[in-house]
């Protein structure tokens, strides 16, 4: 075969299983130079496994990877990088204490001495070319998440990677940053690079990609140029196999007693935050990641005490509420960090289910594990968690399925205050729809604080919206306040809001 009639990369009949779970089965996908290919699929469909195989972190059981028609041996991430395959992960792999330029040149053979001026010049050049400008001399620790992502991308461009894989790249970006990223991605494609774009946001997929491959249960079930897709709903149907609407019907709720009051809360990351939350409403907290949302959630959920100001939960002071051994299931926290905080990856699904529900399954000193297992088996059915065997370790679940396990657990407790932090991140569209329904049902008896980076989610779910920037609550307003809603994107960058105009 000559160079021209074979795709830049062909994954040929890739299969991979983990124990009894067939993660990839006979997957064949062509990734062409100059084209943007979206990879879609429900949670656990096998996208991550496939991309990890491409990136060299996993080895396939069978099948091969062809680059320009030749079999490539990719046994490690280094092999993959040398072969021109680069990944932009959701979690960045940068050295925080070093500068942007140093990070970009890190670990590459380019002579013993590095000239800072030359490094800076290269970074600026690449940044200009793709519209991904960053200050080469800035320390990475001082960058926002969006800027860090740029460093990751420029690093790959500097290495001259010919294939770039983006795994949910817009999750950490403002709408404006996302637009810039899309321009950059298009430019890369124009330069002849092959792009793989993974996202659960179907609108983005429609906007950016040239073609789509859809995975389900480890197989490619459909493949089409994007021109054949008529609408988001069409794409969702092809992916899930049923109609998905994602427009939720919100019942009018009578707002009842207050479940959370935050008053004058300040800390290292927070400035004078004041708001309250009542049973029957969803308060959406939006903002670019890293503007104090995490610190706020950690205080409300009892992980760190409030340094100053007051937090009142269900009528009790913070100290009183969190002094007890258990909250009786009144507070549910769905954390963004599912792997590090919300679960024990080395324990099985039942143990993870028991993590916050253990009180409901104990009798005296004994833990009724069999009863918990039976209950969980029902929930596994209801939440469509895959794989179904509850003896699996949590670490064996895909990101989306792990999140479903956390959701199943936290909603099982029938809480009165729910703090949901980026709950739909990593969930496929079907699961997102289920999650939204769950939140709306839970709203009938609980107050919900929904911290999200996804504006469409905030708008669809919330009764009120609070915008955070740089540790401050810029404004809190009703979703029916059209003027302010139109201004959210501005407020997210610190402009506008309650008399904080610039």
């Amino acid at each position: 075969m000559t160079r021209h009639d074979s795709p830049l990369i062909r994954l040929e009949k890739i299969s991979k299983s983990f124990g009894s779970v067939q993660a990839n089965q006979d997957i064949t996908i062509d990734i062409e130079a100059g084209k943007i290919r979206a990879l879609l699929g429900e949670n656990g469909a096998g996208k991550s496994t496939l991309m990890n195989i491409l990136a060299g972190t996993l080895q396939p059981d069978s099948g091969k990877i062809l680059i320009n028609g030749k079999v490539a041996k990719i046994f490690s991430t280094k092999n993959a990088l040398d072969a021109g395959i680069g990944m932009v992960y959701q979690h960045f792999k940068l050295v925080e204490a070093m500068t942007v330029a140093e990070n970009i040149f890190l670990g590459q053979k380019s002579g013993f001495f590095l000239s800072p001026a030359r490094m800076a010049e290269r970074v600026t050049h690449l940044g200009k070319k793709y519209g991904l400008e960053i200050d080469p001399s800035a320390r990475v620790s001082q960058l926002s998440l969006g800027e860090k992502q740029r460093v990751e991308i420029v690093k790959l461009l500097h290495r001259n990677s010919q294939t770039l894989v983006f795994d949910e790249p817009t999750a950490v970006l403002t709408p404006r940053e996302a637009d810039q990223l899309f321009l950059a991605i298009r430019q890369m494609a124009k330069d002849g690079k092959a792009i793989v774009f993974i996202s659960h946001k179907l609108g983005e997929v429609m906007e950016i990609s040239d073609s789509v491959s859809i995975l389900r249960k480890g197989r490619v079930i459909d493949e089409m140029p994007i021109s054949e897709v008529t609408s988001k709903a069409d794409l969702a149907r092809r992916m899930v196999g049923r109609e998905i609407l994602l427009d939720v019907k919100k019942k009018e709720m009578e707002i009842r007693q207050r479940v959370l009051r935050v008053e004058g809360l300040s800390s290292h990351d927070l400035r004078e935050i004041t708001f309250d939350l009542r049973q029957g409403e969803i308060l959406g907290i939006v903002g670019v990641a890293g503007n104090g949302q995490k610190a706020l959630v950690e205080i409300i959920c009892g992980l760190t005490p409030p340094p100053s100001g007051s937090v009142t939960i269900l009528g009790q002071s913070w100290n009183k509420f969190f002094s007890g051994r258990d909250d009786g299931g009144a507070l549910s926290y769905i954390p963004e960090d599912r792997r590090g905080l919300g679960t024990c990856l080395g324990l099985d699904m039942v143990d993870n289910f028991l993590l916050t529900t253990r009180k409901s399954f104990s009798k005296g000193p004994w833990l009724k594990k069999n009863r918990a297992r039976k209950k969980l088996e029902d929930l596994v059915e209801a939440f469509k968690i895959y794989p179904k065997e509850t003896s699996n370790l949590a670490g064996q679940l895909s990101g989306g399925n792990l999140q479903k396990l956390v959701l199943a657990r936290e909603f099982f407790r029938e809480p009165r205050l729910i703090v949901a932090e980026q709950p739909s991140q990593g969930l496929d569209i079907g699961a997102t729809e289920e999650l939204w329904k769950l939140l709306l049902t839970a709203r009938e008896r609980a107050g919900i604080l929904l911290v999200t980076g996804d504006l469409s989610e905030a708008l669809a779910m919330s009764d009120r919206i609070g915008v955070m920037f740089s540790g401050k609550m810029i404004d809190v307003f009703s979703v029916h306040d059209a003027d302010k809603v139109d201004n959210i994107a501005m407020m997210m960058t610190g402009v506008g809001g309650k008399g904080i105009g610039q």
Binding site: S17, F18, G19, Q59, K73, F75, N79, C301, G302, L303, F322, R325, D326, D327, Y333, P335, G340, L341, G342, T343, C344, L345, G346, L347, D351, L354, L355, T356, R358, S362, P365, W366, L367, K369
Partner: protein, 354 residues
Amino acid sequence: MYRFKITKRQETSIWHSCLIFFGALAISLSFGSIILALQGKPPIGGLTYLFKGAFGDLWALEDCLIKGLPIFLCSIGVAIAFRLQVWNIGAEGQFAMGSIGATWLALVFPDQPQYLLLPGMMGASMLAGALWGLIPALLKIRMRTNEIIVTLMMNYLAIYILDYLVYGPWKDPTSFGFPMTAQFSPGAILPMIGNTRLSLGLWLCIFFGIAYWVFFRFTRLGFELKASGENMKAAKYARIPYNTLVILVMVMGGALAGTAGFVESSANLNRLQPSIMAGYGYTAIVVAWIARLNPLFIALASFLLAGLRVGVEHLQLDLQVPAAFGDIMEGLILLTVLASAFFEKYRIGLRKPA
């Protein structure tokens, strides 16, 4: 050129694990024979001698069990703390305190009947051991001290207290100046099982071994311990009181090591003397690790390492091998067994030249 390829194993079988364990044991023994050879002793003959000395006859097997009892109790104790990833290396000191507690009661109330004195001694030893575990636990949660260092220093403290007592106030006036207490009264000595030289301490071991298993498998507290040890952040998230658990594991571990001190002083030595500190508390740590905190494996490993001690005593007597050989072997076994855990999770193969 061929290169090594490391791949993750999907499933592991118990037979495979056994094979790897005994493989590691064999490797450490072959290192041991090299050391023997370097000393000019017969390498293979020395090992056979070691084995025969340890497991060759009933008398030797009894010796292994006798030495295995305190190791087992201490090991169960440290294993509880290890489950929580609290590094209690203070079993040695807790063991010393336990023996002091038991001895105190035996010396003060020598005339009490056995059915009162023995439970009392056991209670006193558990209390004393628990106290020795509680101090580092409190320091850890209140002042954020490192429990490894504190428990280690507490070991020396306890040993010096023991020395002070047997050289000073508790010294038997009829002992011709030897540092030891008077022999316990019959009521303070644990009875033996049948005609063996094994004390009722064996039943205690079985009881505590089963209790350990039940605790981690069926109780809510055991579950909370396991979860906290697995992921401390998740434990905080789930509102499991970590500090309380730290105190709990250190107190329980101390009480168990203390019980070992009671069994050793009452049943084995019938008095308190410095030779009671034979390093069981340190061997217990090795045992807990090579047994991966599993109670059944802890029992087996306790027996094996007790066997090593018995065997080395024979080598010492008959081949004039220094006593340190036993410590070296213990270290080698720990290293090889820990390193071999890698082969349970991963497979190494050759891959063709790229």
